[in-house]
Symmetry: C3
Subunit: 365 residues, 3 copies
């Protein structure tokens, strides 16, 4: 076996315990998170490439909202609540199928049959209801708050840190949607420690030693760290070889690592030497999360006639399923009336910090 | 195109807005409607022909009640709560399958094995619990109130108005049951305006111009109006021709129109020159309604060896599905926290009147 | 017909009525029963033979708890809450699949990777959480209370009464799991009267006259009685013949009877001359119960190359389904707002006594 230099971690506080069960099971706390975290932070809504041309659109559901994100004639991203201003019907795209009220790409009402017979009616009073929308390096973020902070404030140093990957150039190669019977926070916690890797992910552990790499301290709006590839391993794939070129612009150090960052509340961003993996979390219930996992590649690779991403898709699909398995077991165990919060190891530092963040959020209630 | 004389409608009030979302989504308001509207008004329960002979029976579920309607030896319609007076078992017909308690067609207990050993037991104390039942021209109506007004009071002028169709003579030709993910009121509102027809129902609009016809003012217990068939169109069917004779007894004006009336709370009655269409609404949840749609024909048509109702069944099945599609989109849009009540056009007068009726009902609470 | 000597029953009290509907439909009363009855009494969890060797285990879910029952190296039954003391994950067997925390068969934590780096961590602080476990003559019982009474106190005279059947020697021949849409109490009540047998179970009534046999008075923790086999009938099977030897050790009287006892809260134990039938009730919701039905036989019969239990399996499967049918009709009828508690016959004495037991339990709150 190759030699691994393991940096010791700070000693975990003696008082550190996992969260009480209600944080994972109580519908009221879940609603508070949807309103206060998912409702105030910018949340990841997909890739800019999905709405590349004016009029292209995607729909996203969150916390009872249904939002349409599109691009206007000026090339700006616009998002609207998918609710017709007439009788509330969900509009399919930009014309309501019920009575044909029609809106332009900035949300202005431009057609409303027979409403001209109503003397006091003015189209300008009934635009689609705007939702804040912004982009970061190829990612679309939305924000349901009335007056949100800037997206750049939420991302902070990440913007500069990940610029070398040129994420805006990458394009979707594969999407797998998982339906996980676990609280969204358990999926984030699972993502942010590799102590479970030797036991649960033997294949992953062969590619990257579970004690390698380092975490950043928790930031207010994201957390993450790096894993080192073992000597001779080129990327995270079924056999550790990489049939693709590395992404252009990466340093030699960046080519030997996988960066795993969770941007709160719902993006898990995993940057590999040759591809970008995204997990978008969509919380449905205290014990259920839809997890949209996508593999993104450089266009020059996607254009190759023999392009085949199965080496890394199969690897992560297998690893994902192992993770969802223990996330679901955790949700089940935590839901037992017998559950008592347990102790953390030193290597679960990000989880404990994330727990503090969650507790603080709820205590502000 | 043929020429349509469009009568102008009254101008919609400037204050008119569609109902707040809670009227379509709040379980408490839904329960109040089930108790106070469906529980006090006569509701449509089916056709007299379904219980033509003494002992024939139908079962209907509403608001947790399960009611058996039957015809007694004297030919009168009788309805009973489907609850055995012994240990509460639902009786299949008129004998409980559990301990064989047996009731006659008037609900009197006539057999109760081994209860004769109980000295204080008297069969007369345990009849089936009666539900008020009455008939109108071939339709069976039930009423869950203790002391309901007469069915004739609820129907008012409709009894005389629809006598020419001789509805009691018509018989079932086809039944399709729809499960619609929308509030029952959205289905009634959809039924009572044709402003959406050119956009949503191009086939219907070819048979009857969407601005033709006229509405009656809203009545306390029903609402409706007429649509004119376009010149050359014989009935509402796939191609506008009619392979059946007109119903006997109709005037020349009645043969050129379709009458669409909603008898609150749950019957939508559509009288065509040659057939009767009924929709029975069964509210299941704030966002779900079972809709039993039936096509009824004259017996002389049904008796023809080549009888084939597919021309009008296919037409309405297609139109129904278009309507349920937008009703479900409306329910989804109204359920968004972003929903704001919207403005009505002049041609949505019945909807606005119906909304006032609903608001007034809830305000009496 | 053979002659049956029917002993008269005491006259039912004039005030006796079946329970109000809320006892069968109210989620709060259901939860109180799960907490106070299922949570304090010993409940049947399966057969000792299922965990015959150390390390074999079964899992049982009840009231949100998930319990693992196993046998330790010393041969004693041990049960634990299936919740890892680390981050709450359900353990599959005795090693948690998430971070490989490992426990011995007495629940002691014997392995916790990387926790040795946490100076204040002591394995002895984190054993699996014990659940009380005990055995009766081949049956495993669990108890979720902190300080339960002895199992022997709960069983009382039953221990001596059923010793002749040597239940610990019997082994599983067949299992059928039923999902019944009825309250658990309706299933117990159905089990404890045969007044419904001539009407609902004509086949059973041919084997044992429904007025034969006798009930014991209700005991605090169980109730039951006997049915006599008709002359010429050997056991309860499709044709009343018995292809198996009687169980060794039974008296001539015991060979002519079927003993049906319900041990509260969840075991229905039916002892036949040649086999033992068990129903384990697992309440899921006020209106839903999982019913695990098992047929157990003497090992010498099971070892026969031509062993075929279908004569008695088919008989009881048919009879069970007839019973679940009326139990579900009862649940439906009781759930109607029109339901009024009804009168009992003299032969429903155990049901009325059981009702008093339930009412008294709830009145202690």
């Amino acid at each position: 076996m190759d030699q691994i230099v393991v940096k010791p971690r700070d000693v975990m506080s003696e008082a550190a315990r996992t969260l009480p069960a209600r944080y994972y099971t109580d519908p009221a706390l879940f609603k508070a998170e949807l309103d206060g975290l998912f409702g105030r932070l910018w949340f990841y809504a997909g890739r800019s490439a999905e709405i590349e041309r004016p009029g292209q659109f995607v729909k996203r559901e969150l916390n009872g909202y249904n939002v349409v994100a599109t691009r206007n004639a000026g090339g700006e991203v616009r998002a609207f609540h998918n609710v017709c201003r007439h009788r509330g019907t969900q509009i399919g795209s930009i014309q309501c199928p019920y009575h044909a009220w029609t809106y332009d790409l900035d949300g202005q009402l431009i057609g409303a049959p027979h409403m001209e017979e109503v003397p006091h009616f003015r189209k300008t009073d009934y635009p689609l209801l705007r939702v804040h929308a912004d982009e970061w390096d190829g990612h679309v973020f939305l924000n349901l708050a009335e007056r949100p902070a800037a997206l750049a404030d939420q991302l902070g140093p990440l913007v500069a840190k990940f610029r070398p990957w040129r994420m805006q150039d990458l394009r979707l190669g594969r999407r797998i949607v998982y339906d996980v019977n676990a609280n969204w926070k358990l999926i984030i916690q699972n993502y942010n420690e590799c102590l479970h890797c030797p036991n649960l992910h033997p294949a992953l552990n062969k590619l990257s030693h579970y004690l390698s790499g380092e975490n950043e301290p928790l930031r207010p709006t994201y957390m993450g760290g790096v894993m080192d590839l073992r000597p001779g391993i080129e990327t995270l794939s079924m056999d550790g070889t990489c049939p693709r070129a590395c992404l252009p612009g990466l340093s030699s150090e960046e080519k030997r690592r996988v960066y795993y960052y969770c941007v709160f509340p719902n993006l898990m961003l995993s940057l590999h030497p040759d591809y970008m993996l995204t997990h978008a979390l969509w919380p449905i219930a205290p014990d259920r999360t839809i997890n949209v996992c996508e593999w993104h590649f450089h266009p020059s690779e996607l254009a190759r006639p023999d392009f085949d991403p199965s080496d890394c898709v199969d690897f992560w699909d297998m690893t994902n399923k192992q993770d969802w398995y223990v996330c679901e077991l955790s949700q089940a165990g935590i839901s037992s009336p017998a559950y008592i919060p347990g102790p953390y190891s030193n290597r679960e530092d990000l989880l404990y910090a994330f727990d503090r963040f969650i507790v603080e959020f709820h205590s502000k209630g």
